[in-house]
């Protein structure tokens, strides 16, 4: 046994019996002693040259398979049109391009991974080694040496004596990063008042998002839900997404006697109320309207608003009620806005008015 672990100097401590001749106190076995490493066992590849050659071929084969996978990936990318749908048994009707790209890339990556693992396990050196820990700090002589050098340097440079140089140098070093900071200003235009305003303005007609026709009060029946956007906003416009993201409206009709909030009733037209579709929590489009309870639920974080009571927050993380748009009708009998929202739509932000 001692022969097998002979490379270790602390062998005697490992052997509890048969070494007790030095006296009772000293010979007490230490149950937590380092048992050392077991003897190294060779792999077949270490002993058998034929096995090593075989492993080498396997690893090379896996890497070659990976190369073929990459070539197949490129070929599939070229061959399959993006809209080709094929039936593949357990998956159903899938895109030929997606499926083949995924499969070939998987082959390419798995080939590399499996080859590397097999290489490391069968061919790379696997002798166990122990790396002893040593002291982290330097020895006293070196520390003293460095300290002396530091003191000499400080004395020779006059760093402590020439205060003007020292202070201006510190000033210069502090100011340099400001140059980098200032460039960040060019990352984009400032939002200015864009978050405070939407496209809604006095006299602007409410357009039904389904039909692109102006909404009329008689179109909106009690219990119905309609989405509206400002007149003149077209999907072809460059800033359509930015504008609709702020201006989207939910139109519902309540019986006037069901409206509990006086301001909501005043801002409605015969019980037709227009609320922002943007949740005041983090700005999700919110329109899970329950027509019997008049609650609106946000699908993102379950904020719930009561549309019969000034869109008061009933539940959830939203901080303030959904903004309401004042509406009326114009001379043609179409629903119009009487101005922009009184407060910014969507989530709170710094300097929100």
């Amino acid at each position: 046994m001692s022969d097998e672990t002979g490379s270790h100097t602390d062998v005697p401590e490992n052997l509890p019996s048969g070494r007790g001749g030095h006296g009772d106190e000293v010979a007490k076995p230490n149950p937590f002693a380092n048992p050392g490493l077991p003897p190294h066992e060779h792999r077949r590849q270490d002993i058998d040259d034929k096995a090593a050659k075989h492993s080498e071929r396997v690893v090379a084969g896996l890497f070659t398979l990976s190369m073929l996978g990459t070539i197949a990936f490129i070929a599939c990318f070229v061959i399959f049109p993006v809209d080709k749908i094929v039936y593949i048994f357990p998956f159903g009707h899938v895109s030929a391009l997606n499926f083949s790209l995924g499969l070939t890339l998987a082959v390419a990556l798995t080939g590399i991974g499996a080859g590397a693992v097999h290489w490391a396990r069968t061919l790379m050196a696997d002798e166990e080694i122990a790396d002893e820990r040593h002291r982290i700090d330097a020895d006293d002589e070196l520390r003293e040496n460095v300290r002396q050098q530091w003191i000499t340097g400080a004395k020779e440079s006059g760093f402590g004596r020439r205060k003007l140089i020292r202070n201006t140098m510190m000033g210069a070093l502090t100011m340099v990063p400001l140059a980098g900071l200032v460039i960040l200003r060019d990352l984009g235009p400032l939002p200015e008042k864009k978050l405070d305003h939407t496209l809604w303005a006095k006299g602007k007609q409410l357009i039904n998002s389904n039909t692109n026709q102006p909404l009329r009060p008689e179109d909106v029946v009690v219990g119905s839900l309609t989405f509206a956007q400002p007149d003149g906003l077209e999907e072809s416009q460059d800033d359509f997404q930015q504008q609709i993201a702020k201006a989207a409206l939910m139109i519902i009709r309540l019986k006037p006697e069901d409206i509990k909030d006086k301001r909501e009733l005043d801002w409605s037209h015969q019980g037709i109320v227009a609320f922002s579709k943007i949740c005041t929590h983090v700005g999700c489009p919110i329109s899970l309207y329950e027509q019997q309870t008049h609650h609106v639920l946000c699908p993102c974080h379950q904020s719930t608003f009561d549309l019969s009571d000034g869109a008061r927050v009933l539940f959830g993380p939203a901080g303030h009620p959904l903004p309401q748009l004042r509406i009326s009708v114009n001379s043609q009998g179409n629903l119009i806005a009487l101005g922009d929202f009184e407060e910014p739509v969507g989530p709170a932000f710094w300097e929100r008015s």
Binding site: E41, R43, G92, H93, L225, I286, Y289, Q291, L297
Partner: protein, 269 residues
């Protein structure tokens, strides 16, 4: 004749005669008595209303009131129209089994004729959306792409982007639209059953509804393509994340364990 007269003094003879007399009276009354009334309002629809009223008194009146005015247990049916009755009864939602956050669909026990009679009666209480005709809800000539756009604007917030349904507040939910008949989808949009808002023809025209039905049909069939392979329920990022974490990482851990558990040594211990 001789046989009959021979038995005229039988102890049960009086009972037989009485039974004959009763049957004759009742039969004659049934044939003759309603005749003047039937002549008074002979039209087919008022007969249906009459029959519907009878069905209504049995199945609906306990919650919706004797004349559809509603009660604390059920809303008024004045002005809901025949489309609402056709939807609620043919999907088995009405008559409701029990009160709760939401009345769920179940097996319908009424025949189409009885549903039509009930619908005719309820429609007679006040004007409302009529049961749609096949030409209105048929997706045959509809535009599924346009329907998808309309569906995502109007419906997907509750019913999920391919109509898988979803949760609402306090135990209510938007049911799945998979396998729902085109007529039922149309009627639900038109009438807004329970907590669903309605999408009347004035704000969503009939052809827009047909487009939506065509979209639902396009995403619902076994032939509908899934470019990415497994749909994982098409319920969004939660199922996809779960799949990646549980099965993706799980497979990697299993593979790593399998690799490390096998020794490479020549002498197996």
């Amino acid at each position: 004749m001789k046989k009959l007269s021979a038995r005229r003094r039988h102890p049960l003879a009086a009972l037989v005669v009485l039974l004959f007399a009763l049957a004759a009276t009742g039969g004659l009354y049934a044939v003759l008595a309603p005749a003047p009334k039937a002549q008074a309002d002979a039209s087919q629809s008022s007969l249906a209303i009459e029959q519907g009223k009878k069905l209504y008194s049995v199945g609906c009146a306990s919650c919706h009131g004797q004349s559809g005015q509603g009660s604390s247990n059920g809303p008024s049916l004045v002005g809901v129209g025949s489309a609402a009755v056709d939807f609620q009864v043919s999907t088995g939602r009405m008559p409701a089994k029990q009160p709760g956050p939401q009345v769920e669909a179940k097996k319908n026990t009424y025949g189409q004729k009885e549903i039509d009679q009930l619908a005719a009666y309820v429609a007679s209480l006040g004007p409302g959306p009529a049961t749609p005709t096949k030409s209105q809800y048929s997706p045959a000539n509809a535009d599924a792409a346009k329907g998808g756009e309309l569906f995502r604007t109007n419906c997907s917030q509750c019913h999920n982007f391919v109509g898988k349904g979803g949760a609402l507040t306090e135990g209510k939910f938007a049911p799945t639209l998979k396998g729902i008949k085109a007529k039922d989808v149309y009627e639900a949009m038109q009438t807004g059953p329970q907590n669903m808002p309605s999408f009347p023809d004035s704000t969503m025209p009939s052809d827009a509804k047909a487009n939506i039905i065509a979209y639902l049909k396009a995403v619902d069939s076994a032939q509908s393509p899934n470019p990415g392979g497994f749909t994982l329920g098409t319920i969004g990022p939660v199922s996809e994340g779960l799949f990646a974490w549980v099965f993706g990482l799980g497979a990697l851990i299993a593979l790593a364990t399998w690799v490390a558990a096998r020794t490479t040594k020549a002498k197996k211990s």
